[in-house]
């Protein structure tokens, strides 16, 4: 099982590099689908079956279809490299490197290594999640439904002919 985890971790990182480095948006989208599916496998290995299924259905199924549809609709081709954003180029690398180093130091120092049993069979299917969702988290659930309604209305208004 740990081997499987590391294999899919490597696949995730390689595909994420592809997302960032590809010049054509369609290839980036396909790489992002690989990232999402291998993350679903990681969730399965972490004992989160429900989240893994939701990841495949909602993310890889619905959201990425929307992305690919919009890319094809707008006929997005190669990205033209521009020389207008010097600030991002000069500030981006040092800031990102500083963040990465800092977080790795925090991780190596403060996270206890030997705590918790990993990948032991611990079935937590959708039933306890549903109980938790409709008992402790009812208010966020209802607020989320309002958010989705507003998003649908907003998408319809924004995509109308004249704005």
């Amino acid at each position: 099982m740990p081997t499987l985890f590391y294999i899919f971790a490597g696949l995730t990182i390689i595909a994420a590099l592809g997302v960032v480095l590809q010049r054509t948006p369609v290839y980036s989208a396909l790489m992002l689908i690989v990232v999402l599916c291998s993350l679903a496998v990681e969730y399965l290995l972490l004992g989160a079956e429900f989240i893994a299924v939701i990841q495949v259905i909602v993310y890889a199924g619905a959201i990425m279809v929307l992305f690919v549809l919009v890319i094809m609709l707008l006929n997005a081709g190669h990205e033209i490299p521009s020389s207008r954003s010097h600030v991002a180029k000069w500030l981006g690398f040092p800031l990102l490197a500083a963040f990465l180093v800092e977080m790795f130091i925090v991780l190596s120092r403060y996270v206890p290594e030997e705590s918790g049993a990993w990948f032991a069979p611990k079935p937590a299917g959708p039933v306890p999640i549903g109980h938790l969702l409709f008992q402790n988290y009812v208010l966020p659930f209802e607020v989320t439904s309002v958010l989705v309604l507003v998003a649908v209305l907003g998408a319809v208004v924004l995509a109308k002919k004249e704005l």
Partner: protein, 100 residues
């Protein structure tokens, strides 16, 4: 046995890759996909901590993040379509009408 720090390191690497794409890419659709990458990195950290503590709350937070990401994708892509209709361009450098 995979320690928690390895899962968090994977999450961190994914987040930094997404942030790098967000900063350095110029196509707004690619920038949007890099945001999704960062959201997924945070989700992985949530699920890993839920596993570490033996509770399901972290998984619920990941679930809410996925729902919010779906809403965000719908609205964001509609905004991108509207921008393309007005500007005929997908480059972030051309969308500067709020600049002085």
């Amino acid at each position: 046995m995979v320690p928690l720090s390895h899962v968090l390191a994977l999450s961190l690497i994914l987040f930094v890759l997404g942030a790098a794409g967000f900063i350095f890419r110029r196509n707004i659709i690619t920038i949007f996909m890099c945001i999704e990458l960062m959201l997924n990195a945070v989700n992985l950290a949530f699920v890993a901590f839920a596993r570490q503590h033996g509770q399901l709350d972290g998984q619920l937070y990941a679930f809410f993040v996925i729902v919010v990401a779906a809403a965000e994708a719908a609205v964001g892509l509609a905004i991108i379509i509207a921008l393309y209709r007005n500007k005929e361009s997908l480059s972030a450098d051309d969308l500067n009408s709020m600049k002085m």
